[in-house]
Symmetry: D2
Subunit: 398 residues, 4 copies
């Protein structure tokens, strides 16, 4: 082991920096998952997690990565050969599509340029043409982690309704949940897919399905084979605070703490903080003379910012130089964006000063890496932060 | 929160008591799962876990409960409608069977009385009758957690071979791995299913598939739909120390520590310790005038001991009394054994003195609960321990 | 590092087993000891610690071992050459006497046989003879950690009063505080010395002086040189929640948790639990045919039990055998009791089952070490525990 | 409890940010401080701590704050009424002087302006006048924590020698040890006083005396009363890895880890890192148009930088605004500097990006607090860091 002074800056767009309070909550003896103490904790968590999805409906918690919850959303609601309309927001939308195909579903992709969120109008157009209702589900990524573009989920819902189409709406919020405002009930989403390791500030290992009544109804007739991911037994057992198979007890301890913490800060403050950090980061990128990948201001993400490298410069060499010299991890460009962008995660347990350190590391890295840029990014970010409402100020000090 | 003095005795047959060293290893910042530091750790873990299964072949690690690894073993190797020959050792064998059926497999159960491990001869007989090789897999639970009976896996392999049958051999070692001698390669097992929360001394949340070449070959043609559980991409990515989706990073830290610890003690010593604790526990049960559920000495488990309640006495009232008065959790009887037995877990991070405390709690609980019994159980256990080879003695003190 | 399965049994009479909740409370970032967050915590701790000493007066908290608090009690209240009347209860009383002499005090020892607590009548007799009030302080150890004998502090106070003597009463409660009922105010003690690492369930590193008004008055004229231990600046700063020099912040976090935990259990329950464990241990010793060092039933300790070895047998060889074979640490005989006794600590974060494990380790150790003894000690202890009021039962399970 | 997103920036000049690895090392069960496992650890620590003081002589470790080690240095080497020549570098030098007086020593202060380290020539002049060798000790603070000025200890030694004076040289390194190059042996220091909570990256609670042969010789005749602080029994017991009274076991675990970490980075790299961070901070202060308190470039500290407020502006209001808005603690001005300066701690577990975050917080705080300043401080610091030798770069990534 070699000691590197100071904390590593984990500024990939997830997994995010896990707060001490969450880590310490997990660092406690595992308990009997069929006993009364577990039951009390599980009931609290199963109730609390609904508030994060902004739903009154049940949320299923899987001992699994987010990928598992993608699979769960599909196998519980669809039957072999069903057609899913998916939107190509980027790498993760593409992975979800591949996953659907592996499960025996048919998919149709509305092409995107990886620089915008989903186009609700295009989805509406396509649905209107589907007079026979062959399309059974519309799958959209809320915050595309590979690009930093947010899709307007509420608009997608409206487009589906306007088309009079019965398709289910399945949404991936893995990198937006607990960071960007998201309303499962109000927006009429049928299945929301979430994960533990981003805005929820936990290590990876838990994932979620928030489920509408319509989705539960669909699950009664859906015929894709399923067992681990099956909602029915899970929902039944959860009612009494238990699980059909051994849950990831210590991660649930952490989730219990994280939900409490998000409410201590207040969800509105959490969302405002992420927005502010996104704005400050984009100001820095602009000041550097670089380009933000997301090309539509309305789709800018509060969770992460993807930055395009100037011509001919490799992003991976820059990321490596920053890791080596400044002990900071940044996100790589994925698939067709490989080496063309780097991604700055500014989500989770994160504050203004850590953002300044992060942007300082990028600015010094651009210098060290010989990338053409203009100084002043950190200054621009500080100006944004200074101007911002001090909503998250530490009032306790008063 | 209410403080109860001293440590809770978590003597269910898993999840087991997690050692401080494992909990502390997990209580560290989550790292970039695509970076060089993670890669080094993952390579070490992926290599080390093979030694625990006693295999030179790959072991797939899932961010999932053991139930997920059951599912993985089936979906990777079988096709819809395939027939699985399963052996009814108890509750968990029955659950695995139900799971197989949910996935679209056909199953056939060799009936058992829940008081013995699998009968290798019966399996051989059945296979001999299957001239058309309709049976594609034989599924056996090594250590049936609901009964405390161990199945002779090596004999099952021999019986399959003697029958000249090509069926795959799939084995569940969830409650024996790292506790009872188990040899994936030597015994010719095709897929071994394991979990983190028993002999591996981790919290729940990881599970495993150790895979033979024959199983990998079968996976090329097996057509059950799969994505999360699919071996192919996992095996490819694992070669370079990475995973196709976000792994449960902090649980991997713990696994890294646990593997190291098992080798510090020495696997042979680990197995001997569990055997000794099983023998001591059975001596106590006998002295109490109670009956061990497992009716075949060759099948006695080193991981847990299921104890039958004397006529008319409810096991659950006893367990509740022990939990209330002595802060110890014991395992309940499951399905048809409900309220008829209680199970004492003596696996994982456990030593002679903790066993004495455990058995003392049972003995005082029998007294407190008004259960007919004879005193002397703890004494009988101490006699067994005193006689045992002091192989695990703390030599460092010399 | 070599892994030894299961938890080490730390059954010396302190430091004791630190509960996870206390360790985790300490495992948090150090904070600014001059900031508002620290202030709030310190005020809570400085108030809470009074309840443990059962005093309404201030308690000074030192970043120091208990030995430091011994020194503090003397240097704050006495002047060079002052005479201290001390009672020879055992090794620690002797150490305190030596310490007083090093500081330039004169001491007089009332001889004891190390098998009883202090004799209040003898103290009273001596004081009556001191017509000139040459004796300035009476120093008594409440629970003599080297012998397991408790001194009747209330009787000592009465004897002093009956003698009409103005001497201060200084009492060491290092191994009784938070384990054995102790009442600073009601018993009229002037300075009570305490430490963190026994009944308070913390690691070593904090120590205490609870101070009567009379002691504070004495400190105004006492002329022994002092700075680190001086009460005056400490008491002034403490009023606003701060300290004159950097406090041991993380140990204070632990103390904050420990005070809360002791009140969750209830002090009366804590004391009853220790009494029960003392009684059960003595029953075991008697059943083994061995002798408890403490020769006066009224002085028996609830914190520890010192056991005399039968003729010719070395206690240290037995302790070493138990450490080697059973991973349990027991206390050694000190100074004139070296190798003649061993001490079983049963204080702090400890419960019935852990006591049974502890006594099982001793019983198996006696067997392994070839010490003449009779079996049945653990049985005798279980009988005592079973009969005891289930006052500390885990009511939460109801 | 109220959650504040992200980590608190603890940028007082100590206690410093404790690394996870140290906190986790401390978060382990307390062990028997008279057993073989403790002994092995203690021997390693007692040997390792010498390398940090750069001495081959013994280092005494106290369970105490740094103030205690100040007292220890004096009471072990001096007798009542002895004269100490002390140098008024600032608040802490003044406190040490008061402490000496409380212990019955006489003191003489060479006046300083709190903007420079000690003047070795002035010390030499004074000693030359002391023909009768009335002065028994020269006491100097290496890094004055209240001002950020470093005293040239090697020059002081030379001045003493040049004066042919036998006085002992006692040096306080509380806020320089493990941060600024310090050489107990080479520089001929007699007693070096250190603490755990600064460059050693531990919580407060341990302090140190590194001792020359001459100091040990002096202790044989020194007659100030002492017990807790007495070296003699400590040095004797330490030889076998034990302590005369209960040590602060868990803090020793942390110290064990911290020593290992400092050597992993390499002491030369540690010192260079602190120098770089001092230089970068001063560049920021200059760019802001503010003044560094330390008026002599040769005395600039690598541990902390004290910044003078422009006329009429209160430092405490600024610090409070920064704490409230940016969750960062800065050091206050002490005694005559109260409200006139603020102090930025940049020592301990700290890296380039955290420094940028820290300076960003100050710059945004100046803006928010309405303090007259010029922008560009963070930019100036980044320029210094970018130019610096990438000596601490994370080579593991290669």
């Amino acid at each position: 082991m070699t000691y590197h002074a100071g904390r590593h800056f984990l500024q990939i767009p997830g997994p995010t920096n896990v707060p001490d309070r969450v880590l310490r909550a997990m660092d406690m003896p595992t308990m009997d998952h069929r006993g009364p103490e577990f039951q009390a904790m599980a009931k609290r968590v199963l109730s609390g997690i609904r508030t994060i999805f902004q739903t009154k409906n049940p949320v299923v918690i899987y001992p699994a990565s987010g990928t598992g919850a993608w699979e769960a959303a599909l196998v519980n609601t669809l039957s072999p050969g069903d057609l899913c309309l998916m939107y190509e927001t980027g790498h993760f939308a593409s992975l979800w599509k591949k996953l659907a195909e592996k499960l025996g579903l048919r998919t149709e992709f509305i092409a995107g340029d990886w620089r915008h969120g989903a186009d609700a109008a295009a989805i509406g157009e396509r649905l209107k043409k589907d007079a026979g209702h062959e399309i059974k589900a519309v799958c959209v990524v809320h915050n595309e982690t590979s690009t930093g573009c947010v899709s307007p989920i509420s608009d997608v819902r409206k487009a589906i309704d306007a088309a009079g189409h019965p398709a289910l709406l399945l949404v991936d919020t893995i990198s937006s949940l607990g960071s960007i405002d998201y309303r499962h009930d109000e927006w009429g989403v049928d299945v929301t897919v979430g994960g533990s390791q981003k805005g929820l500030m936990l290590p990876p290992g838990l994932s979620f399905n928030a489920i509408s009544d319509k989705a539960i109804a669909a699950s009664k007739t859906a015929s894709l084979p399923r067992s681990y991911w099956a909602w029915d037994e899970m929902l039944t057992m959860n009612e009494s605070g238990f699980f059909p198979f051994t849950p990831a007890t210590n991660l649930l301890y952490g989730l219990d703490a994280a939900i409490e913490m998000l409410h201590e800060e207040g969800l509105a403050n959490v969302f405002a903080r992420h927005q502010r950090h996104g704005a400050a980061t984009r100001a820095a990128v602009e000041a550097w003379g670089l380009e933000v990948l997301c090309d539509e201001p309305a789709h800018h993400s509060g969770s992460l910012t993807a930055v395009m490298m100037p011509g001919g410069q490799g992003a991976d060499a820059l990321r490596k130089a920053i890791l080596t010299r400044f002990d900071m991890s940044l996100g790589a460009g994925l698939s067709k964006l490989a080496d063309k962008i780097f991604r700055i995660g500014h989500l989770g347990d994160f504050n203004d000063l850590t953002l300044i350190g992060t942007l300082g590391g990028v600015e010094m890295g651009l210098e060290a890496g010989g990338v053409p840029y203009r100084k002043g990014g950190v200054d621009a970010a500080m100006a944004v932060l200074a101007a911002a409402n001090a909503g998250e100020a530490r009032q306790a000090a008063e």
